[in-house]
Symmetry: C2
Subunit: 450 residues, 2 copies
């Protein structure tokens, strides 16, 4: 069914009948449209964006994966790109332009109205996850001496323009543009027109700064019920408006990204519509690091080949030991990552985390050790093999949860992305230790095993 | 530092000086407050919630992990719980109450004002990720025959009550309560008071239904610029208002949950402040399933012990093969999970996904096979060992990416959570196949290896 829709859409685009195309798009549900447009070839997708209104094009692009949006913009004319960008809310526009090459971005700026270009250029200088990068610059603000009647007149006179602003609050500034207060639209309804707005504003409003991190912003919105706050610079100059939904959206993107990185999808998101070689190359970059780490870990087995050749049954349990320690350690990684994102642990609390993990590791290590130890005994008929495997697994489980719990904190302190590096670091160290423990213990009691 | 803050807070709570406590809390940043409150013992945290205003208590609870919120509510008096719940936005209140036992929830309802209790009870019947569970029931709506002047008078007369509603749009219904249109607050400013609102409303507004899924809602908001839409039942009766931020928040929660499940944190989120035995037991439930799967996979090695004892070098490469196939397969899982959440793949497109993965698997399998094959040759001095390991790894990589790409789709079709089950299923099958391939190939050319 999905198959048919995008082929039909492709045919409609090729037929170049604008009315038919618009009707076809209107008849699709939003998710059917996203699915169909995402499947088009790059060339057909560009043809589509050239055919429809810039406003519709902006809407279509909003649902698509980031990589397809970037590609589309890099390939269309700067003039069309500028028309489409002007139809987007400013923070989305800045995100899109920020992903383009400098030349492509400059070409688009030169085709935009100067005022819009200045806005978007300023926004695109911010990082994606600070206040400035998440805010929109469209805002309603008036000097505190303005009369209520003048504000109402301005709102009425510019109703068309402000329609797109989609803001719920009016901000009040001093003569230098510094934030002084906030005004509910409904307060304007209840006040005689000659009063200055300074008399009906709420003074000392909550605000964010352009340099606030997304964690700080998330914590801020947790404590207030407003759907938007003003954003100011270090001198309290009003810069824009930050919406709750922008912060939530960014948090969702971060979780998605963290999940992708832990599973080894690096260098940006992958879609199966992307070119084969790009997909293979990106995945391989991560896999080849893992191969090297695996070979290093396996060298511990190689160094103990003599023990192994005497007790071949050990070879059956080495992969089990490696996998189980990895599982236990990854659970601890996941708990730490979650605690970091909730803000209930700080990167310097390594000792506390280690202490909290030791006890869980001891309990689970004991249970797993007994379980796998019994399996080893049953399989080999030698109780000592069960002891060797069981004790090694128990110790290695304790080690794995301590490392798993603390590694993300350590990486974060050193500015390395814990989502990317925690897994490989963890499994390499636990594999090496696990193989070492099993083979050393076995070597020590070798006459009981053979 | 974090350590000190929560101990200080704990002391202030024990001293039972309400003013000092409120001042102390006011002086903390929101995230320092969340961190400190999350670290308190359960008893001290309950003491805190009993001491402060219900409004402040609601605010404090909003930042805390869900499990701590649930515990706090189950242990406080129903009367206090009711006061706090009444201060929360209705969809949060419904989420909280929905997590409690039926008796605890009923006790709280009986202490609430009947109107609020009816609202929250209705909301808590919905699933967390459908329109009804995400909407707030606080809404501004008027019959379409109402005059503009009467709406303004009502707004002015009830300004205090509506303040908490935090809604940007006014909805218009027919006499049976069915949605007819939407009204901008600012349109009220621009219209003579005797006109009926039906003349200035936007007819046929976009809406969600109480049964819409969170994916549908996310797609809907992607295509519109409003921050909220009305929610209706199957007969188009207006039920409430759905905010964009509620949908974004839910999507973020889902990503977090998916990530936790893939890493083996099941049965709800884990925090290191939770009781040791609960943490150990939850982690162990997942680990013990994995032990069994691992033993099944290792039985393939056991069945081929004879081959292994003749070529002991194989034992060095079995854990590498297992780990690398797992990595490759998990990359494919991550891509499918992402495509599912973006809505660019459907659960029935298993064939398309398999075809897209085969080619990536062939390229990466070839590269990894050559790399690890060379390592095996160099290590053993036997080129045939390199061929056995290399070819087995290549074939197993292709298999792993096909399984990894398709398993989440298959699980989704059968209603099993792909985040939970994809990983263990994948690694068990790829381990078994990988061990089988290596040991069978080695057995076939055994005279070249010894």
């Amino acid at each position: 069914m999905a198959e048919e829709t995008w082929r039909e859409l492709s045919d409609v685009i090729e037929s170049a009948e604008r009315d038919v195309l618009e009707q076809f798009l209107d008849d699709l549900t939003p998710d059917a449209r996203t699915l169909a447009v995402s499947r088009l070839s790059d060339a057909t997708r560009e043809r589509l964006l050239e055919t429809v209104d810039p406003e519709d094009a902006a809407e279509i692009l909003e649902g698509l994966p980031e990589s397809q949006v970037t590609d589309a913009f890099e390939n269309m004319s700067a003039e069309l790109a500028a028309r489409i960008v002007e139809e987007m809310p400013s923070h989305h526009a800045a995100d899109v332009v920020g992903e383009l090459s400098d030349e492509a971005a400059e070409a688009i700026f030169s085709e935009m109205s100067p005022a819009d270009a200045i806005d978007i250029r300023a926004l695109s200088r911010y990082e994606d996850d600070e206040g400035g990068g998440l805010m929109v610059s469209e805002k309603l603000s008036y000097d505190s001496t303005t009369a209520v009647g003048d504000v109402v007149a301005d709102l009425q006179g510019n109703a068309d323009r402000y329609e797109d602003f989609d803001v719920q609050y009016v901000y009040v500034t001093d003569s230098a543009g510094r934030l002084e207060g906030v005004l509910y639209l409904r307060s304007l309804l209840l006040t005689p027109p000659w009063k200055p707005i300074s008399e009906i504003m709420l003074p000392e409003p909550r605000y964010a700064t352009d340099k606030s991190t997304v964690e700080e912003l998330h914590a801020l919105f947790d404590t207030i019920s407003f759907n938007a706050v003003p954003v100011v610079d270090e001198h309290r100059h009003l810069l824009g408006v930050l919406r709750r939904s922008a912060v939530e959206e960014r948090m969702a993107e971060r979780s998605d990204r963290d999940y992708r990185l832990t599973q080894g999808i690096v260098g940006g998101e992958e879609l199966r519509t992307m070119p084969l070689m790009l997909r293979a190359r990106r995945r391989l970059s991560w896999l080849s690091v893992n191969v090297v780490l695996n070979v290093i870990a396996a060298s511990v087995i190689a160094a103990n080949e003599e023990t192994l050749s005497q007790v071949i049954a050990l070879a059956v349990f080495l992969p089990i030991l490696s996998d189980m320690s990895g599982c236990s350690g990854n659970q601890a990684v996941a708990v730490t990552m979650r605690e970091l994102s909730l803000g209930v642990v700080r990167p310097n609390e390594i000792l506390r985390t280690a202490l909290k993990e030791i006890s869980v590791g001891a309990i689970n290590g004991l249970c797993l050790g007994i379980l796998v130890g019994c399996a080893a005994w049953a399989y080999s008929g030698t109780p000592w093999l069960g002891v060797v495997i069981g004790v090694a697994l128990m110790l290695n489980t304790m080690l794995a949860v301590i490392i798993g719990g603390c590694v993300p904190l350590g990486l974060k302190r050193f500015g390395v992305d814990p989502a990317l590096a925690s897994g490989p670091l963890l499994t390499t160290v636990t594999d090496m230790c696990g193989f070492f423990l099993v083979l050393t213990f076995a070597g020590a009691v070798i006459d009981k095993l053979v």
